[in-house]
């Protein structure tokens, strides 16, 4: 019954949180509205998202988000240096193919998003079977190092969280 009414419990929780962030105050009326939205929206969107992704550990996901935010800040400074000071001809851009072991679509989407948001790398494409990502790197003297870094730093963590 609960599963039928709330096909995506984490989505429902997130919608409650989103509503409170939107109204920006703690009131009982807002809670009623939040619970209403958290019930109706997952039910309406369930046909487009039929399966329920596995989520092994919420704290691990939160610490992953913190890690990514920190990496974004560090990488921003590095890319700013490249853009501002490195001579144009010395910037070595490279295409990198990254074979991935993740199977869950949500985990792959999260990995691709992480790669794009950390400046210096952009996820350009994925193989049609979903087992290899194509990444463009702004400055990559050693493309293999970037590939290994992505696999050990992000993919292994996502694998633990989602699979």
């Amino acid at each position: 019954m609960f599963r039928r009414l709330y096909p995506h419990p984490y989505l429902s929780l997130f919608l409650v949180l989103t509503w409170f962030l939107l109204v920006n105050q703690w009131k009982l009326g807002s809670l009623v509205m939040a619970i209403f939205l958290a019930t109706v929206i997952p039910l309406l969107t369930a046909p487009y998202w039929p399966h329920r992704p596995r989520l092994n550990s919420m704290p691990a996901l939160l610490s992953y988000v913190l890690l990514v935010v920190w990496d974004v800040i560090v990488a921003n400074v590095q890319v700013a240096k490249i853009v501002l000071f490195m001579p144009r001809d010395r910037i070595q851009s490279a295409w990198i193919r990254v074979p991935i072991e993740l199977k869950s679509p949500e985990a792959i989407a999260l990995l691709a998003g992480t790669i794009t948001m950390t400046p210096g790398t952009v996820t350009a494409d994925m193989s049609a079977c979903g087992r290899v990502l194509l990444i463009h790197s702004l400055h990559a003297p050693d493309p293999d190092a970037i590939r290994d870094d992505i696999k050990s730093r992000y993919e292994s963590r996502l694998k633990r969280i989602f699979e």
């Binding site: 962030l21 921003n76 853009v83 691709a112 794009t116 952009v122 350009a124 049609a128 079977c129 290899v132």
Partner: protein, 130 residues
Amino acid sequence: MTFALDIILSILLVVGGLFGLTGSYGLIRLKDRMQRLHAPTKASTVGLGTALLASMFHGLMIGTGFSWQEVLVMIFIFVTAPITANYLSKVHLQSRHYDGQTPATGVSRDWATFDQQPEDPEPRLPSRDS
């Protein structure tokens, strides 16, 4: 207290502005289409992030309390920006400008942009209860 907050807000705004400026400068300085794609991801993360942080703390200063809506803006930017970047790179790939530079997939199917095989009528997703 207000003075200290003033200083912090100013620093955040200046840092955000500098990163935004660097992102725009990268657009004219970098010489390749894909390289230019890297510049705006910077402006939209740290540049926007610091500006939003400043906006949140500004609420404390003018007495309307800490503002939480900016967290939501940040979440939406982080979710939508990679999709824009992905679509733009797919357009660059589709324009055949990078033919011969991109590596092969190394597996049976080509990159999704070029793949010729018809899609399965029903994509196989993990079942609901697994």
